[in-house]
Amino acid sequence: MTPVTTPRRQEGCVAPLTLEAEDPSQPGFGTTFDGAADTWHVTVKGGRVVTSTKRGFSQGSSLPLPGLYVPADVENRQKFRRLAEDWYANRPSVSSRVRDMCMHDSYQKIIGMGRAALPFVFEELKKGPDHWFPALHYITEENPVPAEDAGILDRMAKAWLEWGARNGYC
């Protein structure tokens, strides 16, 4: 079998726009390229174009070529998932005070996501009661839990899930 070689450029050709290899330290969403990778990697995430600043998409070009488009809601889900997994894995033990658990950096970042995080918080709450109530309270500025149910996780979760359903979050 004849070995594959790249032919030399024909004499007299004008300079082509150049295909450049993507920066392997910045893989695109859900894909990895082999050594032949090109700039189709660059990803638009949640409307934000994630680019490699080291390499333009073509010679003399300052703009990268977009790859996949990740809508903002999907990007929020990805972000929430990362933060929630980190909180589950690294929060103080369940015997600690709730306040300490909620001061965890990832938990605070989830609160910082604002209402965009609510659908995902309610999804977690449906799986089983956990200490998502402070986050829900801070984000919504509501407290649908009756005073007599305070501290009873099952009932608190039920009250919040009903609130979430009434307000279109779950």
Binding site: V4, R9, Q10, V14, G30, V49, S62, L65, V70, Q78
Partner: protein
């Protein structure tokens, strides 16, 4: 001539890159979006370092499989169609993502961009080129990807059973059929095997992953760049016919593969 299986090639992405003599004003690019896009933008972002700011406008088209993106940096403008990664496109994330059959998506792209060329505010274009990536799904077999690629390459043989890390790049200049006057197009093709990780991709968009979803999938890929040397500035009519000629070359490669080049006169 051996024809490739036209239906096999899907479009991974396509972009029109235009360079103007002067940077367009943001108010002008807003008008461009309204004229070209059938949908309102779902995001507008400014990115890039202060010395080289980028502005991106993006919107999901009604078919929900493709997003339109308009990027502006200095005097350069990109219009692009790109696949969407979301739970709605989960079936497509099981393969190397693509927007649909090559010809159909290019027709959609052309119908959108034609509206841009007819905009009265469009200044003279210094240079323009089209980039596209064609993919043909090969499932979990890298060798199958090479077998798909083989009939596309008329001048080389591939050992499809014992090769890996295959790369073939060639520029086939061709005289412009619409502009004439010694204008030559560069038709740069780069062939390789692309990979995707469906399990990772599905998980990222929040879709549960079945046990039968493979870890890695492969696709024969032809990345194309079609453009001209700086011959401008050109008016929008000449630019539009040139753009259509670029698309013709891409469709031709999807249909018949990469043919032998013709020497310049």
């Amino acid at each position: 001539m051996v024809k490739t299986d036209t239906n096999r090639w899907n479009l991974r992405g396509v972009a029109l890159v235009s360079t103007f003599a002067q940077a367009p004003a943001p108010s002008v690019t807003d008008k461009w979006w309204k004229r070209v896009s059938p949908v309102a933008p779902d995001s507008r972002r400014a990115d890039g370092p202060p010395e080289a700011p980028e502005a991106w406008t993006t919107g999901v088209l009604e078919n929900e499989f493709a997003a339109l993106a308009l990027g502006v940096a200095r005097n350069e403008v990109i219009w692009a169609l790109l696949p969407i990664a979301s739970p709605k496109t989960a079936d497509r994330l099981r393969r190397v993502p693509a927007m649909g059959a090559c010809g159909e998506v290019l027709d959609l792209f052309e119908s959108l961009i034609k509206k841009w060329y007819s905009h009265s505010d469009l200044p003279l274009l210094d240079r323009q080129g089209v980039k596209a990536a064609l993919v043909a799904d090969a499932g979990s077999s890298q060798n199958e990807a090479l077998r798909i690629m083989a009939p596309c390459l008329k001048t080389v043989h591939i050992d499809t059973e014992n090769s890996c890390d295959f790369v073939y790049q060639v520029n086939r200049p061709a005289p412009s059929k619409v502009l004439g006057g010694g204008t030559h197009l560069n038709v740069l093709s780069k062939c390789f095997v692309d990979t995707a990780k469906p399990r990772e991709a599905l998980s990222e968009v929040g879709v549960s992953v079945d046990a039968d979803v493979p870890e890695v999938v492969f696709a024969a890929t032809v990345a194309l760049e079609v453009g001209t040397q700086r011959g401008g500035p050109r008016g929008f009519k000449a630019s539009m016919v040139l753009f259509r000629e670029y698309l013709w070359h891409i469709k031709s490669i999807a249909r018949t593969g990469i043919r032998r080049g013709r020497r310049k006169a």
